[in-house]
Amino acid sequence: MNAMRNCFIGLALVVASLTSCQKEYKEPAPDHAFSVRFRPVVQETDNILEFGKTYTNFFNEPFEVRTFKFYVHDIKLINTENGYTFSVGKDEHFLVDAADTIGSRIDVKVPTATYNRISFKIGVDSVRNFSGAQTGALDPALGMFWTWNSGYIMAKLEGNSPVTGQPSDVFEYHIGGFKAPDNVVQQVSLPFPSPITLRKDAETEIIIAADVYRWFNGVHDIRLDTNPVVMSPGPLAKKVSENYANMFTVLHFISYL
């Protein structure tokens, strides 16, 4: 009888090990290669940002960009017609770096279905801001972590402008903060120009414009002469995040067979 009981334990182990192999995805299986490519632009969606080139913001302040990075997580593909949502997962963080074409692309796997909207969060999930040493996109060696006031820089825009009055004319927007009321994590939800049905055996890329022009105005006025440096959490960082939450536009899709 004892052996029989042991055997049941063994069977339970087999079942447990089989279960542990299964990923916690909903049906259908996420087997479709889907990429989100962010295209850094200035003011117009076809005006691709060039580093070191001089642009003018809403307040007629000339500026050039040296660094443009932001974190993305909690990506969801949504069909508002039938209520279906596929979630990539809250834990998957991606650092988008406009300086290189690989770094500005996020690769995920999603189920083939019809979708008409994408949503994601800009920033790093609050829990991950006090979870200690981490790696991958959240590696502090990537320069997106405040070492003296623990927490991630969730979006970064740096460059130069003659109006800043700072050494070497720099402006630096290091936007972070994960505690209320100055939590800068922003929810973004973008409709597609038209619904897209992902094809089996194809890869799909969605091109989303990320407009640095929108950092300076929209919801709040952020002028380079009065606010050339934002480097700590607080109401000002929150305002900048409320501006750049509106910097995205879905442009089009590309399908690769």
């Binding site: 052996a3 182990l13 090990s17 192999c21 979870s131 590696d139 502090p140 006031n149």
Partner: protein, 349 residues
Amino acid sequence: MVTFRWTILLAAVLFTAGFLVNACKKSGAPAAPPTTPLTFTVPDGWPQPLYNFEGNPITKEGFELGKKLFYDGILSKDGNFPCASCHQQFAAFATFDHPLSHGFDNQFTLRNAPGLFNMVWLPAMHWDGGINHIEVQPLAPITAPNEMAEDIANVVKKLQQHPEYPNHFKAAFGDATVTSERMLKALTQFVGMMVSANSKYDKVKRGELSFTADEQKGYEIFQAKCASCHTEPLFTDNSYRNTGLPLDPVLKDYGRMRITGNSADSLKFKVPSLRNLYLTFPYGHDGRFYAVRDVLDHYSHGVQDGPTVDPLVKNKIPLSDADKFYLQYFLRTLTDSTFIADKRFGPPQ
């Protein structure tokens, strides 16, 4: 016979289970070398630590790697400033006899280096509480331009290219890849193991020794006048308080307000532990008090009132000369001479 058949079946089932479990693992990776687990012991009567090494199991290999890193100038820009340059074991891992420590390029640090012990009980690190997790603390001194003045990515690169470190990372973490996460976890294993709980005070609490009459008197004064902030057994309540120290015009250090941006936190600093007090002089966030007596004099007649000064010290703490005499006898019982002689925490041999 029936039992025998069941046994065969059981073996088959277990074999299959093992196979399936293995099938989940990534294939092709060589088996990780075995590690030797170390045990973290919570002293009797102490609360459970806030950091419990979950997700960072302590091993001899990880601990030794952490120790090597702690004592190695490779973490600093010019190689001259290991963690141990400001955290000296004979000073309970504070900087001996220095109000401010020395960093890269002949610069002073902003604040007095605290002793390192009982770190896993701290909800936050630094005088202003800016560090919210023990594992990420080393990033602050490594990158501060007036401390170790390095860049995290560059430290990782130097360690990866070093003739010895990749082997130590392999021994501790299974392969030779150096990452900031592994470096920080190894340092945490080393520093997190530093528990100081063997002072005379502890021995008295354990019933192994007893206080002298003077120490006992001092303990009673301590309990009446100091213990509301310097709570036993860790001798801090980990709160942030303004104890009425006037702002240093050069350092312009507003303490906790730097982190919260809240003017109500202006000039507040973390209540430090009083353990190993006599090893960690000078005192105060900027080391402005050279002797314990100076600190006691501050509380009895030096406190400068201001909008954020703590109610408990606002009207000063009435301490007679006799009180101060006895208090110092008691405070000396907080020195843990075993901790500062513990070879586990000394430089790698």
